[in-house]
Symmetry: C2
Subunit: 341 residues, 2 copies
Amino acid sequence: MNTKIRNTPNIVEEIAERTGIAVSTVYAILADRKSCFASRKLKERVKKLADELGYRPNYIAVSLKKGKTGTIGLIVSDMNAETTLGRLENMTKIAHKDSYHIFVACSYNNPDLEDELLREFYYRMVDGIVIAPARFGHESKFLSKLIELKFPIVSVTCIENVDIDFVSTDYFAGGYMAGQHLLEMGYTKPGFLGPEITTTAVKERFEGFTKVLVDNGYKIDDVNVVLVRNETNQEIEKGSDKLLETGVDAVFCTNDRIALLFMKKAIQKGKKIPEQMGIIGFDDTEVGRMSLIPLTSIRQKLAEATTQLYESLKKKIQGQNQPCKMFIKPELIVRESTKRR
Amino acid sequence: MNTKIRNTPNIVEEIAERTGIAVSTVYAILADRKSCFASRKLKERVKKLADELGYRPNYIAVSLKKGKTGTIGLIVSDMNAETTLGRLENMTKIAHKDSYHIFVACSYNNPDLEDELLREFYYRMVDGIVIAPARFGHESKFLSKLIELKFPIVSVTCIENVDIDFVSTDYFAGGYMAGQHLLEMGYTKPGFLGPEITTTAVKERFEGFTKVLVDNGYKIDDVNVVLVRNETNQEIEKGSDKLLETGVDAVFCTNDRIALLFMKKAIQKGKKIPEQMGIIGFDDTEVGRMSLIPLTSIRQKLAEATTQLYESLKKKIQGQNQPCKMFIKPELIVRESTKRR
DNA sequence: CTGAAAGCGCTTACAG
DNA sequence: CTGAAAGCGCTTACAG
């Protein structure tokens, strides 16, 4: 009975045969095991043969033996945002130092797909998972199950009703900073433009923004707010028109793209920027930086957040499960679009 | 002698014990093997137990057995470009349909790091590799070795002196289309702005561009060309000034970012766009689309290219090694920055 | 139809 | 110091 169906010729066996030593000795030599006292000459011969025959240690076999795959799964929620690429870059860079490799998959904000991806990563035996959660519908059963199993998993945002560790941008602080900056620049009728408030990240931007206005003597009713149904250009442009009609002299938009579309509309209506209209976005993306009138924005500290997140995940993988719920304040990047003074 | 050091309790063994059947029968049931004629009741009991005990098939063990890991390594050359994210998105999406998962790593255009990443992917037993090659210095020994070994690997660009299969944008055609468009719009003094020509992708853009001008009666010497040392804002702005001084009335830039920086300079110098100055970029990125004066550009057909590349790779993984060297024509996207007529 | 056995390519503990 | 053996968790071919 020979059930041996090799995918490749076994090079280690061949080396053992050719040199007349045991297979396990070959392994010992190739792994530079210190308890291996083969002669220097023999060691060299083995290594040379290995090189000639194109030997590569089978990482899969090692993984099976060690119970660790040296692999981290990253689930992002969309593939458009510059922040996604930033997170990915930071994560691969940091993790590579510890010889981790990164699987990437995207949920497209679809909770069902997210659930499936979590399952797949889990079955593929990744050592840990970093998730940028889908925006809606987090009754994800599998996510809860992973947490219950104490599987190493961390999130880039806080998830409502789910006890997951996270390192998130402090969106409330971001909204507060945006509003404060507009007031400091001397604008007196600040407005808000964004999508309907269905996510915590947007809700907190909004609440931070209104908070600073209230702190400065505004009444909530005095603040002009336009929420658009979705973030298509068309909807945003309609929303911009609507907000412009209210007579605002400054606006905080929930992201840079929305801010730039608003800017275009404002200019079309004859507004001078920043003199007659201050505009501030969120995320500090290249579109804002490259704009003919460079955009003031709130920058998330992605590198710092990713590092913290990674360290937390690494500890979990190593079996130390310290809770980690952390918010990181973003920073204000002042550019032309708000420089009234 | 007990060398059994489990990482986890073996759930399959436990199920076998509890139900009084053999381990291999449990596997047969869990895999829904058709040659398995256990009673329906037994099957259900086994599956329920598996569920309760949190059984997951160990993908690593399966991989070891099958000699395939269901994994593709993607090496990108930088983490800034929108095209990188586009490729990544397309690749994960397509590959996921065949249950492949994607490892992502970045060479940062560093050939040594690229070499290392190729090695790592190879050792990690990925089934295939997709590479966006580092821009310079392709004497990469390991890449050549992989090709020699007929390891499944494909590239997003043609690599000089390396016999690798690829699906690339036809940059020459792109340059040609750009020049043709400027002429058709009635511009008469077209110029070129880009980095020093050290890569094929830039060289071909340039050659396509000059070709169409020559085809239309221009002499090479009549074409104003400014090449900048590197792509920092500062260098590009200096280059823009220099090109503006030559009296060009239109310019083809090797990418959208350069085009927008040039646009800003041209506007500062009082040029009306597109009336007095036509500007065309490359890559059709969001910065160009979102610009106050939307940018005409050349769009790479990334989705199509990635699909072709994936299909070629898949065949290689399956053992059919058909050569695949393919150029895909990009498309012209006309926006405001060249609409003179 | 069921189940014991061999094997995927390694590592580890241990007998000689 | 070397090497045979057992095991990681699965699958496959085959004996009963």
